[in-house]
């Protein structure tokens, strides 16, 4: 076969791929909720990151101006020791979004790798990994967090990240494993095997791309899940150290009934930030599913 | 032709889908008739709208489909009496009027027997369901009927097979069950949507035999959707060739096969592989690719691929011409013949 035809087939594939991409983008754009989600996610992330780079002052207490209602010098008011809430929500966003994204991506990566191995090889390895995943699943997250916090003796960010990743990979794992089990019987996999391609190449270069869309979708929604989880752990006092202004830590002010009833802005704004972001991420995830999932087209 | 002779009369059927908030026309002013006790074959490439046309008639399309027609008339013959049903007037796809017809009057056999059966119910129950629904028959009695039909359809050991689940059946047997579901209420019109595509060749032949028997022995009318010209030649009394959502040629088997008129039909027939192809003889293909229904221009849809294309072919809507009685062709080559609807 001459080179020219190869190129032309490649080009053809490329143009087909780009037209599919265009079509998907168009489809996504037409999904107003998904578009809304994307815009909100992007705006909030950019705002938070910009806030962090500019170095908004999130940490200077001002005991003469505590619990100032929104307006004037402080757009969102000040918290119980007079720190600017707007700056805190921005800064906190960076941490919370980072926690969400990092844990979602890492747990997807681990889940995908183990799922690929388990699904592709099957047999004893599969059984072993399944057992491990069941043990992790059966473990209450709280106990793990507590043990790690106590072992490291610090309520650091890294603890939380480790725990979330450790306890978060099982769903992706199951999904990828099931997909691999059905895909490994496909002809193209058999062809690759017949060509003597390396197993790791078959797994990650040939099969995995076919599983990418559900992984992407579940990663997106996991971002929201981890952000909420962080807030919940903060609430029972097992989250990140209080000096780190995650959204969950800021929202902890709602533990105090007096704040809930008298200083609504102290908890409503971080609450809104979390809810809006999670909402947007969920819409985005749904939109991505609609675009990427062939079954629902 | 009268109502006695015609069982299904479709005039100017249009179906479009809403996708991406845009309307895409899939079936465009399709007209055809099915004669009682005969087989009509609808042929064409994949995606030409054959299945959509039939699903439009049976109203099996989802909520994003828009169906309109001047006339979809089904003439039931019961005890020598003709009852006319105007399907296009029924507002609800799955309303009581449509439901009353599905099963006892018209039924459908689907393409993929693997997925057409509900995996969680016993096949016998699935077949009996329609019967019980329409006749109010008791379970026992229905079971007898189902057994009888299974025997007739050549399902071996029906007494035990009736209590099996679909996954315990082979493809061919599953398709027999699907046919049984379609047959159980003894309908007059059976629409078979590529009933053998998913099956291997020997099974295909058995299933086709079965359908032919049904038509001949029981006087059923069959609409057979297929892209297999061999099957058409074997089964059809009349042939309807579709391309890009339009009927391009319609006529009896002889009209279409022996007096092939539309350039597309000609190309289609030339591209059929024949056993014992002579040495050096190359199987022809139709040049070009099927256009995307979403970006259709005016004129004849086949113009880009047609060897006889002229400037006129690229403008306006191409009408159909009746070149012989009952033989209609949608091509300007025959504009000397009278223009007809459909």
């Amino acid at each position: 076969m001459s080179d020219s035809t190869t190129v032309s087939i490649k080009n053809q594939n490329k143009s087909a791929a780009s037209s599919l991409l265009k079509k998907n983008i168009r489809k996504f754009m037409n999904n107003k909720l998904a578009l809304f989600g994307l815009i909100v996610v992007v705006i909030m992330t950019v705002a938070c990151v910009v806030g962090m780079i500019v170095g908004v002052d999130y940490n200077t207490p001002n005991l003469t101006a505590l619990k100032t209602p929104p307006g004037g010098e402080h757009i969102l008011g000040t918290d119980t020791i007079g720190r600017d809430l707007w700056a805190r929500v921005l800064y906190g966003g960076c941490y919370s979004i980072f926690i969400g994204v990092f844990c979602a991506v890492m747990s997807s990566v681990i889940g995908a790798i183990l799922g690929a191995i388990s699904g592709y090889f099957g047999g004893k390895i599969d059984q072993l990994i399944i057992r491990i995943s069941e043990i992790f699943q059966a473990f209450p997250q709280l106990v793990l967090v507590m043990m790690l916090v106590a072992i490291v003796n610090k309520r650091g960010l890294s603890n939380l990240l480790v725990i979330f990743v450790l306890t978060g990979w099982m769903t992706t794992f199951r999904m990828v494993r099931n997909e691999f089990m059905s895909l490994k019987g496909e002809t193209y996999v058999k062809v690759c095997e017949a060509f003597g391609m390396k197993k790791s190449r078959i797994m990650f270069n040939q099969i995995l791309p076919n599983v990418m869309s559900p992984i992407i979708v579940s990663t997106t929604t996991n971002v929201a899940f981890f952000i909420l989880q962080e807030a919940a752990l903060s609430f029972i006092g097992l989250g990140v150290a209080d000096s780190t202004p995650t959204w969950g830590n800021i929202l902890n002010a709602a533990k105090s009934v007096s704040v809930v009833t008298n200083q609504w802005w102290v908890w409503v704004f971080p609450g809104l930030a979390i809810s809006l972001f999670v909402l947007a991420i969920n819409f985005l995830g749904d939109g991505l599913r609609d675009v990427l999932d062939a079954k629902q087209q | 032709m009268n109502n006695q002779e015609i069982i299904l009369d479709v005039k100017n059927l249009n179906t479009s889908f809403i996708s991406d908030r845009k309307q895409v026309d899939i079936v465009k002013s399709v007209s055809f008739q099915v004669k009682r006790g005969t087989t009509l074959s609808v042929v064409g490439e994949s995606g030409c709208g054959k299945s959509v046309t039939m699903n439009s008639i049976m109203r099996f399309l989802g909520s994003n489909a828009r169906v309109s027609a001047d006339n979809i008339q089904y003439n039931a013959l019961r005890d020598g009496e003709i009852t006319e049903y105007h399907l296009e007037t029924y507002k609800k796809s799955n309303g009581p009027e449509m439901r009353a017809l599905r099963g006892p009057d018209m039924s459908m056999v689907f393409q993929d027997p693997m997925s057409s059966l509900n995996p969680v119910y016993k096949v016998g129950d699935q077949v009996a369901e329609g019967l019980i629904q329409h006749t109010g028959m008791g379970k026992k009695e229905a079971r007898e009927k189902v057994l009888e039909l299974f025997r007739k359809l050549g399902i071996p050991d029906p007494e035990s097979r009736i209590d099996c689940y679909p996954h315990q059946f082979s493809g061919g047997m599953k398709q027999r069950v699907v046919i049984a579901i379609a047959m159980i209420c003894n309908p007059e019109l059976i629409i078979c949507d590529e009933p053998t595509t998913a099956l291997d060749v020997t099974i295909q032949a058995q299933i086709m035999e079965l359908l032919k028997d049904l038509q001949v022995n029981e006087g059923k009318s069959i609409v057979l959707i297929t892209h297999n010209m061999g099957l058409v030649a074997e089964m059809a009394d009349e042939v309807c060739v579709m391309y890009m959502g339009r009927v391009v040629e319609f006529g009896s088997l002889e009209d279409v096969f022996d007096h092939t008129s539309h350039p597309y039909t000609k190309a289609l027939l030339r591209s059929v592989p024949v056993l014992g192809l002579a040495d050096g003889q190359i199987l022809e293909t139709i040049p070009g690719i099927t256009p995307n229904p979403a970006d259709i221009k005016g004129g004849c849809d086949f113009a880009d691929r047609c060897p006889d294309c002229t400037e006129r072919c690229r403008q306006g809507v191409i009408p159909a011409f009746e070149i012989a009685k009952g033989h209609r062709v949608r091509c300007l080559k025959y504009d000397s013949f009278p223009e007809v609807n459909g």
Binding site: N59, T80, I81, D242, V257, T261, V268 | -
Partner: protein, 528 residues
């Protein structure tokens, strides 16, 4: 498209409506409260809340009286004496009379006749002796008891007279006995003293006070009824319900607490905004203070804190006066003695950011090292306070890291991986503040490195019976503590007692430190 919009608007409106509903609840709360109290409160029933949120009590038994005293246990368990609201004067309760020898070493206490436990058994000197002896062996007990009882050399009883001999005079002995709850020997003699506070006795206790235990619903509540064997005036309130709650304020708001106390700013703020409650300010010695870790991780020397100049400079960098605004009626103080007390020596730690900066630099402190702060109260006000402290120290050019400890005792006194600790102490008396400096103190000895400089003075202080004498000693102790700078008080925190408007309190009742017991004339309390 329209539908989609309608749906979105509808759902958002619903959510906003709900948020708005509770945001703007201040105005019409009054009506809600009044209707609720009418419909729910039974006549003659007092409602109390026992919090489980701070880990100090569990919700499957009643609180024990030997550690902190709470209202419910005060009503169930009596002591030999009963204190007044200052906790510094006591009058006989179970005791009929008492005598102290000239040298302050022999106490003769006569018990009332015909005392009975709620189960009808007689309450005798045996119970008193059993209780004191057991207290010395118990693991979980307030140290004011062990510190006092450790001086007892001989404890005997003859009929209803108890004779107690001490090795050294102990000025507070009667006041301590006024807090010490006597427990029934016949129910507890077979219990391991170490596990006394966890015994099943506490799920159905036998009591000596005006109320007897009635019923416990684990995780929900326990109720008290009038003790028929109580020899004094029967109380007017016939039933007391104690709810186990996770949050006092919510309990008060929803009408589950007729009496409660608060000492955190947000709680006080919330309670003051509620109309259904009367507030009573209580004068207590609740110290909030910093302590410097001299010993470092696992008892190795903490080099960075050895220099007293560093310690002084760090305190100069913290504006304690401003910090005190986070707490209700907090008073800054400079030693264990409040500024307005006669014994106060007049020294003051001054806040001076610039001076602090210079002093720290001059002391040769390594500015690049991270200063570690350890604290263990996880309420919002404490967290806020620590965050502010961190800020002050950062202003002085230090790198600071604050850790909230889940396990205060280990982290502060065993692991010791910190430079500055932050603690609270609700003290029975000023003496208690100073006993923390004892070189042999099981906990603080680990932190201050067993400095014996204080021991002599502290011993004198606990023996001193004369006010003038003890003031002299206190002044010396203040000078010493300000020279050593091992621990620095930030302020004392005011406590407020709240009683609901349903409760009528007799005239002249003064509340005392809510973690101790005193005479509240409870038999004359009434509930609407």
């Amino acid at each position: 498209m329209m539908r989609r919009k309608i749906a979105l608007i509808l759902s958002v409106a619903l959510a906003v409506g709900m948020l708005a509903g509770c945001g703007a609840k201040g105005e019409d709360k009054k009506t809600a409260d009044s209707t609720k109290t009418e419909s729910q409160v039974e006549k003659g029933t007092l409602k109390l809340a026992v919090t489980t949120g701070d880990g100090s009590s569990t919700d499957d038994k009643i609180p024990t009286p030997w550690y902190n005293r709470v209202m419910a246990t005060n009503l169930m368990f009596r002591s030999l004496f009963v204190a007044d609201s200052s906790l510094a004067k006591a009058s006989p309760d179970l005791a009929d009379s008492y005598e102290i020898s000239e040298d302050g070493l022999t106490y003769t206490i006569t018990l009332k006749d015909g005392l009975k436990w709620s189960d009808g058994e007689a309450l005798t000197t045996d119970d008193v002796i059993f209780s004191i002896n057991t207290a010395l062996k118990a693991a979980t007990i307030n140290s004011i008891y062990t510190a006092a009882f450790a001086n007892i050399t001989e404890l005997t009883a003859d009929a209803n007279v108890i004779t107690m001999k001490l090795s050294t005079p102990y000025a507070d002995m009667i006041n301590v006995l006024a807090q010490f709850a006597i427990l029934p020997k016949h129910a507890l003699e077979n219990v391991d003293p170490l596990k006394l506070d966890t015994d099943t006795f506490w799920t159905q206790p036998i009591t000596s006070g005006m109320y007897a235990f009635d019923e416990l619903s684990v995780g929900n509540y326990f109720t008290l009824k009038v003790n028929e064997n109580y020899e004094g005036t029967a109380p007017k309130i016939t039933k007391i319900i104690n709810y186990f709650v996770s949050d006092y304020i919510t309990a008060a708001q929803s009408g589950n607490a007729d009496y409660m106390f608060a000492n955190a700013a947000d709680q006080v703020e919330a309670m003051n905004k509620m109309d259904g409650f009367d507030s009573h300010e209580v004068n207590v010695l609740f110290y909030k203070y910093f302590l410097f870790n001299m010993k470092g991780v696992d008892g190795n020397q903490n080099e960075a804190m050895q220099d007293v100049k560093v310690r002084k400079a760090l305190i100069e960098a913290i504006d304690r006066a401003t910090l005190s605004t986070l707490y209700p009626s907090a008073t800054v103080l400079n030693s264990g003695v409040p500024n307005e007390d006669k014994a106060y020596n007049g020294f003051e730690y001054k806040y001076d950011e610039e001076k602090a900066k210079k002093d720290i630099e001059a002391s040769g402190y390594d500015m690049g090292r991270t200063l570690k702060i350890c604290y263990y109260n996880n309420d919002q006000t404490s967290i806020d306070l620590i965050n502010t402290v961190v800020h002050y120290l950062e202003q002085a050019g230090l790198t600071v890291e604050a850790t909230l400890s889940n396990d205060g005792t280990t982290d502060l006194f065993t692991t010791r991986d910190y430079d500055i600790g932050f603690k609270g102490k609700s003290a029975f008396s000023m003496n208690e503040w100073y006993t923390e400096y004892m070189s042999g103190d099981a906990l603080f000895g680990n932190v201050f490195g067993g400095d014996t400089a204080f021991d002599e003075l502290i011993a004198q202080l606990s023996a001193a019976t004369d006010e003038k004498e003890s003031n002299e000693i206190l002044k010396k102790l203040q000078d010493l503590e300000q020279e050593k700078v091992y621990k620095v008080p930030a302020f004392t925190v005011g406590t407020y007692v709240y009683t609901s408007k349903n409760v009528t309190i007799p005239d002249g009742v003064e509340f005392c430190n809510t973690l101790y017991s005193c005479d509240l004339d409870f038999e004359n309390w009434e509930v609407k």
